[in-house]
């Protein structure tokens, strides 16, 4: 019995694939990609330097994995020679990184009465911690799988999908906990961020993004509008282990385009919240777009970095926001340090000394339609920016697009669209995209690489001096990180609406991207 117990214990230790300490120090092992953004500070930066401007022109596909029929938006995880992806509509697959062959796969259909209001039937990736793989589902479950076999270890219901909730974001696994947000801002939900015990799936805490009566911030909602206030939390946040703070973006207030019955700033929508990771208590918040009526969710990646702002070294969180402004905030206190447009915007004269926008008249949605830049999808969106500590540049996937915004009355019904209007973007030939490099500490533009259409692909940057990105027309490409010069491109044949990663196979650097419904891995000969 003792021998058997010892063997079991040994087996359990061998399965502790990705303990928290490894993920916390992800920078030590760039041969893996241990969390959604590569590291808790969300730089989406690979320290691997084998691929350089001089050899990237020889990149070629090494293998392709074709997932199911639907297009996928996943950013893979790589741990110890296994790649983990989520699949549409609800599934997880483990792949051998040498060949792309499946090691195990689990998929189930969505409920027949599922409606995903305001978002597609997608999933953006998994999280790994110890020997478990975690995924959120369209019908608002959080699930844990054994990383070696795909056996389900727990399956927790996070919310009722019939009330408009769903999960599309990759969870974030930190010390003993798995953090998830929810989608549903077009369905009149009350948004939240949850933490679950990583081993048991039991909920540890919940932070509601819309404060109830008596809670701070409730006074920013007129009447009962807080009950259907929205504030979804549908993109993976970042984590500072030293401050023990989670940084999470929140989405739009509801109804999206009609703010008449929800007077007030509508906290904490369109904000960045900093939460104590142990308790979920709010340490600070910053609201980018008070009383938003353009659907400019602040669900963009919060990037944690250290830089010099106006001559003083600061620990900041940088965000290129959907509302077309680039922000630097002190990440310990939330103090506003800098805010400057990074794309065309016609809705604000500027930001005041506290970062509050000075909104121009006539820019709210109207019955006949109001023309405003940026469009509803914003000057950037969920696709990841990237920060390269060697170039000190912050790279943003930019959408240059304007729209007509319409507004009308709407009544809340559970499970129905609650937007109070519509948006109609300008024709395609009046829109474009770019990979835009900003000086990280000032937001000034350093270079632009123009894209044919506004992108739905994120960026990766590397220690070898490259920036990788994708296009709607299927091009996966590499740019010189210093100059923006295009160095290599490949036609994948499918729309790229995902973020690239980099890792190593047998010590050789590779890059991976999802295009269409396939995962492509590229390396040198």
């Amino acid at each position: 019995m003792r021998i058997a117990a010892a063997l079991m214990l040994a087996g359990a230790c061998a399965y502790a694939q990705a303990p928290y300490e490894r993920i916390r120090q992800a920078w030590r092992e760039p041969a893996n990609w241990l969390t959604y953004s590569g590291s808790y500070d969300a730089h989406r930066y690979s320290a691997l330097g084998q691929l350089t401007p001089s050899n990237v022109g020889r990149l070629r596909p090494l293998w392709v994995y074709q997932a199911g029929e639907q297009e996928i938006e996943v950013s893979p995880i790589v741990v110890d020679e296994v790649m983990y992806i989520s699949e549409a509509p609800i599934g997880v697959t483990a792949l051998d990184i040498h060949t792309g062959r499946s090691l195990w796969s689990w998929i189930r259909p969505t409920p027949a009465d599922l409606t995903t209001i305001g978002y597609g039937r997608v999933n953006r990736g998994v999280a790994v911690l110890d020997n478990l793989v975690y995924v959120g589902t369209l019908d608002a479950h959080l699930m844990a799988f054994d990383s070696r076999s795909g056996a389900i270890r727990w399956d927790t219901v996070v919310a009722d999908y019939r009330s408009g909730y769903g999960i599309t974001a990759a969870p974030l696994a930190i010390n003993g906990k798995v953090i998830t947000g929810v989608s549903g801002g077009e369905g009149g939900i009350r948004g939240f961020i949850d933490a679950y015990d990583a081993k048991s799936g039991k909920r540890l805490w919940r932070f509601w993004t819309i404060p109830a009566p008596g809670e701070p911030g409730h006074e920013t909602w007129a009447g009962d509008s807080w009950k259907t206030g929205g504030g979804p939390t549908w993109l993976t946040g970042s984590y500072d282990p030293e401050l023990n703070l989670l940084y999470w973006g929140t989405g739009n207030p509801g109804p999206d385009w009609n703010g008449t019955k929800r007077g007030g700033d509508n906290l904490y929508t369109c904000s960045l919240v900093a939460l104590n990771a142990d308790t979920g208590k709010l340490k600070w918040h910053f609201q980018f777009t008070p009383h938003d009526d353009h659907d400019w969710d602040a669900t963009e990646i919060p990037v944690l970095l250290n830089t010099t702002v106006r001559g003083r070294k600061r620990k900041v969180v940088a965000m290129a926001n959907r509302n077309a402004f680039y922000y630097l905030l002190d990440r310990a206190t939330g103090e506003f340090l800098l805010g400057t447009p990074f794309a065309k915007q016609t809705w604000a004269k500027g930001l005041d000394d506290h970062g509050r926008p000075q909104v121009l008249p006539g820019t709210s949605p109207s019955q006949k339609g109001s023309l405003v830049w940026p469009s509803m999808h914003g000057a950037t969106n969920w696709p990841s920016p990237a920060f390269n500590p060697k170039t000190n540049l912050f790279y943003v996937p930019v959408r240059e697009m304007g729209s007509y915004y319409f507004s009308w009355d709407v009544e809340y019904k559970p499970g129905a669209r609650f937007t109070g209007g519509a948006e109609r973007a300008l024709p395609a030939d009046q829109a474009s995209g770019a990979v835009r490099a900003l000086d990280v500490s000032t937001g000034e533009r350093r270079w632009d690489f123009r894209l044919h259409t506004p992108p739905w692909a994120g960026l990766l940057t590397t220690g070898g001096g490259l920036v990788f990105g994708g296009t709607n027309e299927g091009n996966f490409f590499a740019l010189d990180a210093v100059s923006g010069k295009p160095l290599w491109d490949f036609q994948t044949g499918g729309m790229i609406e995902a973020n690239p990663i980099s890792f190593a196979i047998d010590g050789k650097q590779v890059v991976a991207i999802t295009a269409g419904h396939s995962v492509f891995v590229f390396g040198l000969q």
Partner: protein, 263 residues
């Protein structure tokens, strides 16, 4: 498992009927348009005016998009088909799928579209048979195909009377630059070694462009091999302003408007 063959069949049928009655709700109700309230139709109208009117006209009279103010819609012979057309678009045409609409929203738009069909049909001036002769004498078939006959440089006109309304067709003839479809943009590409190619843009991305010359040849370029790439205001479609007017123009428009498809 039924061991009694005499009763097995009846029990199986009963089981199937019960299963059907208790089955999971289907995604599309049978025909919710019949039960629509004025509020539903008003919502449908608002969605239509903000999302559809650009192509189909403020009251569905058509333009770049089909005239919807008619009792029968070719691509929507019944309401379920109309739902699908709005939800998923029409392959091979400029009608896109909606994005981010719940089923209920699409039904509201469909319901509103059906109300447009109750307006009286408009009678066009002009004689379609005389227009057909004019089409031949102007040699339009050198660039356009109707029912598999003719050239392929310009758009296929089979069914153009369903896709575009009469006013738009008139504009196509007298002001073709204004009505140029997105997939018939004229491009001039000049390569670094001095070659010039003019033609219709077939496809373009950040790195490459594919062009079809007026003689039907395809060219493919990497943009880094080009000295310049310009969109041209001209079109290969000649303008008939000043050459066709009055009854002649009416006849040709009437002929084109009569092309409802049929291969």
């Amino acid at each position: 498992m039924f061991h009694d063959p005499a009763h097995g069949c009846c029990l199986t049928v009963a089981a199937l009927l019960i299963a059907a009655a208790c089955g999971a709700p289907s995604r599309q109700p049978a025909d919710p348009i019949a039960a629509m309230t004025p509020a539903d139709l008003a919502h449908g109208r608002r969605l239509f005016e903000s999302q559809c009117a650009d192509c189909h006209g403020a009251t569905g009279e058509g333009g770049r998009g089909a005239n919807l103010a008619v009792p029968h819609l070719k691509y929507a012979p019944d309401n379920a088909a109309l739902f699908r057309v709005i939800m998923s678009g029409i392959d091979g045409t400029e009608m896109p799928a909606v994005r981010g609409f719940a089923d209920r929203d699409v039904w509201h738009v469909a319901g509103y579209v059906r109300t447009l069909g109750r307006t009286a049909a408009v009678t066009l001036p002009g004689n379609a048979r005389r227009g057909e002769k004019l089409y031949a004498s102007l040699q339009c078939a050198s660039c356009h195909t109707i029912n598999a006959q003719g050239g392929t440089l310009g758009p296929d006109l089979t069914g153009v009377g369903v896709r575009r309304n009469a006013m738009f067709l008139r504009d196509c003839l007298v002001d073709p630059a204004k009505t140029l479809p997105e997939n018939f943009v004229m491009i001039r590409a000049r390569t670094l070694n001095g070659r010039e190619v003019r033609g219709i843009r077939v496809n373009e991305d950040t790195f490459t462009i594919q062009i079809k010359s007026l003689d039907g040849q395809f060219s493919s370029f990497r943009k880094t091999a080009l000295a310049s790439l310009d969109k041209l205001q001209e079109t290969p479609m000649p303008s008939y302003r000043g050459r066709l007017f009055g009854p002649n123009l009416d006849d040709l428009v009437a002929y084109l408007a009569s092309l409802r498809g049929g291969l």
